[in-house]
């Protein structure tokens, strides 16, 4: 599929006011508002366009599987530092479209979901250098570029990250890439959830090479990444028990195939890392130095939203049966002033409201 074909499809949909459902591999069909609109399958617009290891960037078309991108980076000892999930196991969510090869670049950026290394490296948007966007009128727009620093014009490329396809098709994107750490090791500690949060914040304020944390069922895993000497020094200082096969565990956390993510409904609660435990049952996992907490089971939606908001965070209904998804907004509702801004921005990029309607908020 060429970019011109994407443009033609969007122009036709714009003219006919036909809602479109943008789709890469479909690995995140479960995420966000209920799916609506005619599928615009973008998986055929694929391929790495440019990769310059010493310039620390890679440009690829939206349908390129992350697996392909990461394989190319690995040849030069580099990585996508935000460790995005591939969700290869999710491909049966929508049986109408056959399984593909796991998450694509476009879907990864549109969803803005980062993996375990987020606590050290940053969010998806932190690595976006530029995008070629096809907006809701079928205009091709280039924002940002391929250089590390670029403050000319509004930073639309980062705005696009996490916008769930509601502002345009990310036809092509350039990401900052980083070298893989020389050494990595994982330590395990037996502790309760409160103690895990306390320790993670205490360690976080020290110059330690922490790259991931995962608590589940009384066990805290801590990944150290960096120079060999730094990892070794931190290991001696922190104690804990060395784990074997840790890489598999971290992949299961990234991919959410770990049992901690098995139950539904599953709530993704983002909090200030220091927030005390919420007065809600069902805590299943803690990640990102305490800032990301997963709750599973039959939890009252209003109660968990209120508790998360009171603690300075927000709760997302992450994975749930359709019967619940059609009653509960996936994301925490916006304050009126912010919702008004969102509507106006949506109007800028997609005046006919044809792109992924309702996927982010029911209002647009």
């Amino acid at each position: 599929m060429t970019r011109d074909e994407i443009v033609a499809a969007i122009r036709a949909a714009h003219a006919g006011r036909t809602p479109l459902r943008l789709r890469g591999a479909g690995s995140k069909d479960f995420y966000g508002g209920l799916l609506a609109g005619e599928v615009l399958d973008l998986s055929g617009h694929r391929g790495i366009v440019a990769y310059e290891p010493t310039e620390l960037y890679l440009t690829a078309k939206c349908g390129t599987p992350l697996a392909e991108i990461e394989a190319a980076l690995a040849e030069h000892g580099q990585m996508l530092a935000f460790e995005p999930p591939h969700f290869s196991a999710n491909l049966t969510v929508d049986r109408q479209i056959p399984a593909k090869t796991g998450a694509t670049l476009g879907g990864c950026l549109a969803a803005g979901l980062a993996g375990p290394r987020r606590m050290q490296a940053g969010a998806v948007r932190d690595f976006v250098l530029g995008v070629t966007l096809v907006d809701g009128r079928g205009q091709v727009l280039d924002f940002g570029g391929r250089v590390m620093k670029n403050v000319a014009g509004y930073d639309v490329s980062r705005l696009i990250a996490g916008s769930l396809g509601t502002l345009g098709v990310i036809a092509e994107a350039t990401l900052k890439v980083l070298p893989k750490p020389v050494a990595e090791t994982t330590l395990a500690f037996a502790c309760a959830a409160d103690e895990a949060v306390r320790r993670l914040n205490d360690w976080g304020a020290q110059p330690l090479p922490l790259s991931a944390a995962f608590w589940h069922d009384g066990r805290l895993l801590l990944r150290l990444s960096g120079a060999a000497a730094a990892v070794e020094a931190a290991r001696r200082r922190l104690g804990g028990e060395l784990t074997v096969d840790a890489e598999k565990t971290w992949i299961s956390v990234r991919e959410q195939t770990h049992p901690a993510f098995a139950a539904t409904p599953l709530w993704r609660v983002a909090l200030p890392s220091t927030a005390p435990a919420l007065a809600v049952d069902g805590l299943s996992a803690i990640e990102w130095g305490g800032a990301l907490r997963w709750y599973a089971g039959d939890i009252d939606a209003a109660a968990i939203r209120a508790a998360a908001t009171a603690a300075g965070g927000h709760a997302t209904l992450y994975r749930a049966p359709e019967s619940l998804r059609c009653r509960v907004d996936p994301f925490t509702p916006l304050a009126p002033a912010l919702l008004a801004l969102h509507r106006r921005l949506k109007q800028v990029f997609d005046p006919a409201g044809i792109l992924n309607p309702g996927r982010l908020y029911a209002e647009f």
Binding site: E52, E55, D126, K149, V151, G153, P179, G312, H314, L341
Partner: protein
């Protein structure tokens, strides 16, 4: 100034404006006399000056809201201002508008060790945040060279960088939350201490928006643990191309240094007598490469950096042996602008970004431009992230010299775009690079920027005529973006 003459319509407007502002601000928060306004007529880009109608110095958010509402009702432009250290004229006043100074918003509201964050008002100086965080072993990472004076609010407006941003990021990577007042006087908060705020990433949009979208009244910044140790390797090269290759080789070796800076011979020659940093004055270029972390990590990285630099033909290598020596190595780089200011009556600092591999090409082109314009240029370079700061030396008192400097600068910026880079890495577009925006962006992108602006500020009152050029202005400039071979500005009359 002829503003005080009694009959013109502008004076009537101004009288109404001042009357309304006096209703919402105490007398000591409003400057109206020429001699009081004079210090605000420009920012760090002194070549562009304009006198505002008034300067408002609110002391609390309620007053900010009132000033903005008043200006919105009267249709008066508002230019927000921090310390006025910006280098692109972003805080230059509007002749028919007011300056809204956030200088009195200078309190650090909270520093929290465990959550590694600080809540500060926008008028707090960049360095003051790190000083307040130091007792907890933390600091605020972005460190523009002007950090002793520039404010966090200004850093947010410009998405400021610094010498450590390859490893630690720009302002956009280090701000967690903003409290913003819209031009209509409505307060909204974006981002939070919790990650991944719901909805669009408005933080990304606001940061670097050069005061065109809203006025920031509170900022939550991320703090990071201060590394136990930092050391700098200083390497001399006989050839700038070799030094450029060395930068790429360091990255290729899988090293992301805490800082990676280059200075060419004219820059070291200007700096050395001023700071006595011990730079090699015979070298065509020197590289400063900083490593930070645990002592073990630093030792390991410095050894690898040394090996790479030696392999790239560095003729001399020195590693800082003490914190004092490290700071001395950096002092020259950080003082490069004032040092050049000592050897020339005026200088004009550019801010293009290019792919690192094009560095030698760019420096050769700048050397040719020096001959073409008959002006000297010293180059300091955030080599790690491709951000070049050529300092063009000129003399404002010589007729035509500024015009030559400006043309010289424009040529550098346009070459930056042609080489695959950007016209500005960290100083912003402001008024200075507004024409070159026409080269970097095509019509549809510029139209989108204007539409984004209108989504926040329909009457276009916040910092008008900055950052994003009108299409008409681009047509007048006549050097437009060649974009996929399409005809530019098909709807506009041609010249």
């Amino acid at each position: 100034m002829c503003r005080m003459s009694s009959e013109s319509p502008v004076v009537a407007d101004r009288a109404t404006l001042l009357r309304r502002l006096r209703h919402v601000l105490p007398a000591h928060c409003l400057l109206v006399e020429d001699e009081d306004l004079r210090p605000y007529e420009c920012d760090g880009l002194t070549a562009y000056r304009e006198m505002p109608l008034a300067v408002c110095l609110p002391e609390n958010e309620g007053q900010v809201v009132d000033v903005l509402r008043t200006c919105h009702q009267l249709g008066v432009p508002v230019v927000a201002r921090g310390a006025g250290t910006g280098l692109s004229g972003g805080a230059m006043p509007h002749a028919e508008g007011v300056v809204l100074s956030l200088a009195r918003f200078n309190r650090i509201l909270k520093v929290d060790r465990d959550s590694r964050s600080a809540v500060v008002q926008p008028g707090v100086r960049n360095l003051a945040v790190s000083e307040a965080a130091a007792p907890y072993g933390l600091y605020y990472a972005p460190d523009p060279s002007s950090q002793i004076a520039c404010t966090i609010g200004g850093n947010v407006a410009e998405n400021s960088g610094g010498v450590h941003c390859l490893k630690y990021g720009l302002t956009v990577h280090n701000v967690l939350r903003l409290r913003v007042v819209s031009i209509e006087g409505e307060i909204f908060e974006i981002g939070s201490a919790a990650p991944d705020s719901p909805g669009y990433d408005l933080l990304a949009l606001l940061i670097g928006s050069e005061g065109l979208l809203g006025v920031v009244t509170e900022v939550t910044v991320k703090l990071v643990p201060k590394p136990e140790l930092a050391q700098v390797v200083m390497a001399s090269f006989d050839d700038v191309a070799q030094a450029g290759d060395a930068v790429a080789a360091i990255i290729a070796a899988g090293i992301i240094p805490a800082g990676l800076e280059m200075m060419d011979k004219p820059a070291t020659a200007a700096v050395e007598p001023f700071v006595k940093a011990g730079y090699d004055l015979d070298a065509a270029a020197i590289l400063l490469c900083e490593s930070d972390g645990t002592p073990e990590e630093v030792a390991e990285e410095i050894a690898r950096v040394r090996a790479v630099l030696t392999g790239c033909g560095a003729r001399d290598l020195r590693v800082s042996q003490s914190e004092a020596e490290r700071l001395r190595f950096w002092a020259g780089r950080k003082a490069a602008f004032p040092a050049v200011g000592r050897i020339t009556p005026d200088y004009y600092c550019m801010d293009g970004t290019i792919p690192r591999k094009r560095l030698a090409e760019m420096l050769a082109a700048i050397a040719a431009m020096e001959r073409k314009y008959g002006l000297r240029c010293a180059n300091v370079f955030h080599a790690g992230d491709g951000n070049l700061h050529p300092l063009i030396m000129y003399d404002m008192s010589l007729p035509g010299d500024w015009d030559k400097a400006e043309a010289f600068g424009a040529e550098i910026l346009e070459l930056s775009v042609a080489l695959g880079g950007s016209i500005t890495g960290e100083h912003g577009v402001g008024i200075e690079k507004i024409k070159q925006m026409c080269v970097q962006y095509a019509t549809p992108e510029l139209e989108t920027f204007h539409a984004v602006k209108a989504a926040f500020d329909e009457k276009r009152l916040l910092n008008p005529e900055k950052a994003v050029p009108s299409l008409h202005r681009c047509a007048e400039y006549g050097r437009m973006h060649v974009h996929r071979g399409e005809l530019k500005f098909p709807d506009l009359e041609r010249f």
